[in-house]
Amino acid sequence: MTPVVQVADLRKEYAMGSDRVYALRGVELTVEPSEFLAVMGPSGSGKSTFMHVVGLLDAPSAGSYRFEGGEVSHLSSDARADIRGRRLGFVFQAYNLLPRTSALENVELPMVYAGVPEEDRRRIALAKLEMVGVAQLAQHHPNQMSGGQQQRVAIARSLVNDPGLILADEPTGALDTKSSQEIMRLFARLNENQGITVMLVTHEPDVAAYARRIVTFRDGRITGDAPNDRQAA
């Protein structure tokens, strides 16, 4: 099977004032379909930069990145936007739902840009809200929902275009312990039952424990890559 993510000697450097920052110094990683991967590491280890490059929000300075078999390291920003909209799903720490907009419309948003016909959008969005267990909140606005509920809506949004990879950046960072556990169980269930590939970025071992493979970053390089034998449930 074609790997979802295949990076080789991936480098990213940028100027910060007069200094050059080497955020990624030759990263090698392959992610197969249906993997549930946690990326760990302290702040400044390069894990966030790595996620931005993998999520096609940023282009690497050098190296190769094949996403679902195609080389994407030199794509234009428009081409990257198209892949983000159609093949990638994002879940952020701050949920990033549009304010004063219903859960349903929030979930429909990626389909608006992907050009999905209107009559299909509503149906798909409702199905995904159902899948993450908040169908009853379809007409609620974000300020009428708890943090856990908002994050579920955000997860539904990341699922609507049936992406090849979901990138979750500290998805539980703003949640209490109970909600965190529920959200992580949801990710585990989606991965287990639907075979959805998930790449999770976190610095909390408790959260990483839900993944089946843990990759550790330090100083812009991968220093650890091991299966998680004791997956939490």
Binding site: G55, L57, F90, F92, N96, L109, P110, Y113
Partner: protein, 405 residues
């Protein structure tokens, strides 16, 4: 994304911020409304001036005596007494002339029984009613025979009739005394209203010009020759021919200046029209300035909106929006904002115009091209002032935008 989808998205975003959207529109609304009201009043005033100039008589040419120099002092136009009824008869024979009426004007007191009134007594020919398009309301006008015989007959304007016969009795058949001479009233004129210069045109008494010369002025000359050209196209040729003819008849050779002056109302009407055009340009300038101020308001709010919604922009980019989609979205918002503002402005302007017309009884009319122009200009203001903020939004890097606090 389709155009309708973009517009719907823009509308939804504006509805999400109702108060702010309405306040932002206000600049455009007030600008457009002010333009519509001033234009409506301006155009209405111009139309009424044009109407009253036309009411003086279509294709009218007025010939007045020129100035003369008497012992070194030059009198103004009309100071000379050079025009005679025979000049009028000669001009009447020119081709392209429909009618000629000599006019002798005297301001004097008119008495009827116990009532008296100072008015302008005009000695005219029977063609006068045709030249001025001024119909007789009751009774009849005097005939050529009565002119030839210098008959003592008079036709009263509405104002004079009302002042001299306040009981509502018909003046026809009654007698009025003009400068000691009794005149029989044979008719009254239809009301004509104010002239373009604000004069009450109905404040007059018409008598045969021969009677006026004989009994009022004692002169063999007349004050004015009123000439009506057969058509608007012949005004210029009649003006030239009449000038030549009078120069011959008055034996004027080049070094001498004409002792008369020929003017046509078309020229006066043109001057009025030019004044109107200048007014309209001025209004267009005011419109542009007020709409530009409104546009700056829109740009200001759009810039605030882009900053405020940086995270939203980041998210939209993350879920697949291209830079162009973001640009279109914000541009659409400012265009929708300014166009709706323009439409509301037209509506407010129309209501304001109706209110002004009702309160002041000024004639008003809103030309449709101004409505179109205001709305189109509003939309252009939206594009112009919305582009910079929209570009700022589109040029954001998705990572920076997502991280924005």
């Amino acid at each position: 994304m389709t155009l309708t989808a973009t517009l719907r998205l823009a509308l939804a975003a504006l509805i999400r911020n109702k108060t702010r959207s309405v306040l932002t529109m206000l600049g455009i609304v007030i600008g457009v409304a002010a333009v519509i009201v001033t234009v409506a009043i301006g155009v209405g005033a111009r139309t009424s001036v044009a109407q009253s100039i036309n009411s003086l008589g279509s294709n009218l040419i007025v010939i007045q005596p020129g100035s003369v120099t008497q012992t070194g002092a030059r009198t103004g136009f009309g100071g000379a007494s050079t025009l005679t009824p025979d000049d009028g008869l000669a001009i009447a024979k020119l081709s392209g002339v429909a009618a000629v009426s000599p006019t002798v004007s005297v301001r004097t007191q008119v008495v009827a029984g116990e009532n008296n009134w100072q008015t302008i007594v005009n000695g005219v020919a029977p063609t006068y009613t045709f030249i001025r398009s001024w119909p007789v309301e009751s009774g009849r006008f005097f005939s050529e025979n009565e002119v030839a015989g210098a008959a003592k007959v008079a036709v009263l304007g509405q104002t004079v009739a009302g002042e001299l016969f306040p009981n509502g009795d018909s003046p026809v058949g009654q007698t009025v005394i003009v400068k000691g001479a009794p005149f029989t009233v044979i008719g009254t004129l239809a009301p004509l209203g104010q002239s373009g210069l604000g004069q009450d045109q109905d404040d007059t008494v018409l008598i045969p010009y021969t009677s006026a010369m004989e009994r009022l002025t004692g002169l063999t000359t007349v004050s004015t020759l009123m000439v009506s050209a057969a058509s608007a196209g012949q005004i210029d040729s009649v003006t030239q021919d009449a000038t030549q003819l009078l120069e011959q008849r008055h034996r004027i050779v080049p070094p001498q200046t004409d002792d008369f002056q020929v003017r046509d109302l078309q020229a006066i009407a043109q001057t009025a029209a030019q004044t109107g055009t200048v007014m309209e340009l001025l209004l267009a300038g005011v419109a542009a300035v007020s709409l530009i101020v409104g546009g700056i308001g829109i740009m200001n709010i759009m810039l605030v909106s882009v900053t405020e919604r940086t995270r939203e922009i980041g998210l939209r980019m993350a879920v697949g929006a291209r830079a162009a989609s973001i640009l279109r979205q914000f541009l659409a918002e400012s265009i929708v904002l300014s166009t709706i503002g323009g439409l509301i402005g037209v509506l407010c302007g129309a209501v304001g115009t109706i209110a002004v017309a009702a309160l002041t009884h000024w004639p008003t009319s809103i030309p449709p091209q101004w409505i179109l122009a205001s709305v189109a200009f509003s939309a252009m203001v939206g594009i112009f002032f919305g582009y910079y903020p929209a570009r700022q939004a589109a040029q954001l890097s998705p990572i920076e935008a997502l991280r924005f606090e």
